[in-house]
């Protein structure tokens, strides 16, 4: 039996609803319809009071969830697409993010963002906004890349007393499958070494992990061994694991699907330049999406976002091979 990344998210929510009376799922079409991607399919039938359809009002949806969280519930908000969370951005960044700091009262809220590009998604159904949310204080930002992490990190997100932005990748929903869920996983804030290698460190997260793994496989034929770090959580950023890896390889590449300017890749490179400059044998590099809105046509989209082909080129330049 195999489980998809999407099923893992649904089962995590089922588990949360079953085991914690405080859990509430709120969002557009999440009720009997089961959500635009079916991430809540079958849950409203079992938990009719705690899986609630909302009007198309992202600001008020998040505001409502903040109020529920202050009162002791553990709400999970499903944004239909990460892109639409910008309508609720004020509530997430200015209200939820600042609330504990201002008042000392925690806001245990999870916002699920169906993120990233899929073929034909276009400018407003493809965005990766983890860096935007990581920029604001008071938020935890998760970017699971595996089926097991999708399951266990969502469960952990709901137990955390702070607002968690849970960036789940839409491309992985159906494409990524696992035979079983791993019984033990790392806690939030810890990166995972997805592959060990001696020649260069590639730091990545979410769907890009799988592109990088493909590159590593190809380069192994040339006796080049990449060390791959899956960040899992982009905020907090596990700088220690990255530095330790760069100390072993001397070279750093960051690969992320988001836009380049002020992004997670830029943050990692800034930290390594600051704390591990002496470890570097070559200037650190990054591969990100192009600095334009995300194109609709598959032929444009496949060039706009990083993929195995463009990451491979960047690794070759990094290693001068």
């Amino acid at each position: 039996m195999s489980i998809t990344y999407l099923n893992a998210i649904r089962e995590a929510q089922r588990h949360l609803l079953e085991t914690d009376q405080r859990v509430l799922i709120y969002g557009q079409d999440v009720g009997l319809f089961g959500g635009a991607f079916k991430a809540t399919k079958g849950l409203a039938e079992v938990f009719p009071d705690r899986v609630m359809d909302a009007p198309i009002s992202e600001d008020a949806i998040v505001g409502t969830a903040i109020g529920a969280a202050i009162e002791g519930l553990r709400p999970i908000v499903e944004m239909q697409f990460a892109d639409f969370s910008t309508v609720g951005f004020n509530q997430i960044a200015n209200n939820a993010g600042a609330f504990f700091w201002r008042t000392g009262v925690p806001v245990p809220l999870t916002v699920r963002l169906p993120s990233g590009g899929t073929s034909g998604g276009g400018p407003f159904h493809s965005q990766s906004l983890e860096a935007v949310y990581a920029h604001y204080p008071g938020l935890v930002v998760m970017t699971p890349a595996t089926v097991s992490d999708a399951y266990s990190m969502l469960i952990e997100a709901v137990t955390i007393d702070d607002p968690v932005i849970f960036c789940e990748h839409k491309y992985l929903y159906y494409h990524l499958k696992a035979d079983t869920l791993e019984p033990e996983t790392l806690p939030a804030g810890k990166a995972r070494i997805a592959r060990t290698g001696r020649d260069a460190t590639v730091v990545t997260y979410s769907a890009m992990l799988h592109e990088v793994l493909e590159v590593a496989k190809e380069l192994a034929n040339e006796d080049v061994e990449l060390e791959i770090i899956d960040l899992r959580t982009v905020k907090p950023l596990d700088t220690d694991t990255v530095i330790a890896s760069v100390a072993r390889t001397g070279r750093l590449l960051c690969a992320a699907e988001a836009w380049p300017w002020g992004g997670v890749s830029a943050e990692i490179i800034a930290r390594i330049a600051n704390e591990g400059f002496h470890l570097l044998d070559a200037p650190p590099r990054r591969v990100n999406a192009k600095d334009t809105p995300i194109p609709y046509h598959p032929d444009l989209w496949s060039i706009h976002r990083p993929a195995a082909r463009s990451i491979l080129l960047a690794v070759r330049e990094l290693l001068r091979i």
């Binding site: 600001d59 504990f100 008071g138 700088t239």
Partner: protein
């Protein structure tokens, strides 16, 4: 020390002598406290801005007085009177305005951005309309946990009703039939922008029809009308009739903040009924109804003034925060804080 009388048993809408007296006391305290804050601001004792409620005290205090301590209240900029009526003390108000670390916001936020969420008293953010859905979420949570009988109340102005946040939150509250009272103080100017540039509605209460909620209008300068209309709205919300939109007509009798001389306000408006000072109207009403005579009012004023002076001395002595000993962690989950760079 200012203390709001618990109104738990107060279920009628009648503007009784007892209710009017409580409202009047909060109004007077708010006005005198505002005057003190303005003086402290001019003396350079207050950082940032000072935002006063002159002209809005009757409406605000009537709302605070009509609520129970178990209700949820999210006041806005000009609700000093309502905050006091809901139970905030003068000392606590001053602590936020003067940045005392002993205040509820611990020097991290100030002036009107204060509250105690655990007591159902929400601290506003500056983005207008944002707190309405938060109140709604608290009410929804109580409903889900089977806690009945509480209501929520929140305040906004003629400018704030133009925001998307207001629209989304009122619509959502109506859909969920939440026991929420939304009080709109139409003071005719959003900072400098006149009401004609905010809405094409004949009256802001027309919006109630669009949202499918009950609408009420009040004369915001008249303590009796505020008491009656707000009391009625609160009772209807508590009785399960869904959200209530109260629109009160009044005029801001001061600048947006103390930095603002408000020279944009049409002088002719000041000559109309809405330009009346609600505190003068309340004073006359109390005397006409033999609730208080002029001497008693003067005594009350002196008593409140002493209370404020002593509170100011106390809070100034508390001093400011120590930035080097401050806890610079924005997360409740300390282990998840990004290490300082």
């Amino acid at each position: 020390m200012q203390t709001a009388v618990d109104t738990w048993t107060n279920s009628t809408t009648a503007p009784t002598s007892a209710r009017l007296l409580e409202i009047f006391r909060s109004m007077m305290t708010a006005r005198l406290l505002d005057e003190k804050l303005a003086a402290l601001y001019r003396a350079g004792k207050i950082h940032g801005g000072v935002f006063l409620g002159k002209g809005q005290e009757a409406l605000s205090a009537a709302l605070g007085q009509a609520l129970r301590r178990t209700d949820v209240f999210a006041p806005l900029i000009r609700d000093g009177a309502g905050r006091l009526a809901f139970g905030e003390t003068v000392v606590e108000a001053l602590r936020s305005c003067l940045g005392s670390p002993q205040g509820p916001m611990r020097s991290r936020d100030g002036n009107v951005h204060r509250g105690r969420p655990r007591d159902g008293y929400l601290p506003m953010i500056s983005h207008l309309g944002a707190m309405i859905s938060v109140v709604g979420g608290m009410l929804l949570s109580r409903r889900l946990r089977g806690r009945r009988g509480d209501i929520g109340a929140t305040c906004i102005g003629d400018g704030g009703v133009s925001t998307g946040a207001f629209h989304e939150a009122v619509n959502l509250a109506a859909v969920e039939k939440l026991p929420l009272v939304i009080v709109v103080a139409n003071n005719h100017y959003a900072y400098s922008t006149p009401i004609e540039k905010q809405t094409a509605c004949r009256s802001l209460v027309d919006k109630a029809v669009g949202y499918g909620v009950q609408g009420h209008t009040a004369d915001g300068t008249d303590i009796v009308d505020c008491c009656k209309v707000i009391g009625e709205a609160v009772n209807r919300a508590r009785a399960g009739e869904g959200p209530q939109l109260v629109v009160a007509e009044l005029l801001r009798l001061c600048g947006h903040g103390e930095h603002d001389d408000a020279n944009y306000i049409d002088r002719r408006l000041k000559e109309t009924t809405i330009g009346r000072d609600c505190l003068d109207v309340a004073r006359e009403t109390l005397q006409e109804r033999n609730i208080m005579d002029a001497e008693a009012i003067a005594q009350l004023r002196a008593e409140i003034t002493r209370e404020i002076e002593s509170a100011v001395q106390q809070v100034i002595k508390e001093g400011g925060p120590d930035p080097f000993a401050h806890d610079w962690c924005a997360l409740a989950t300390r282990r998840l804080a990004d290490p300082p760079l």
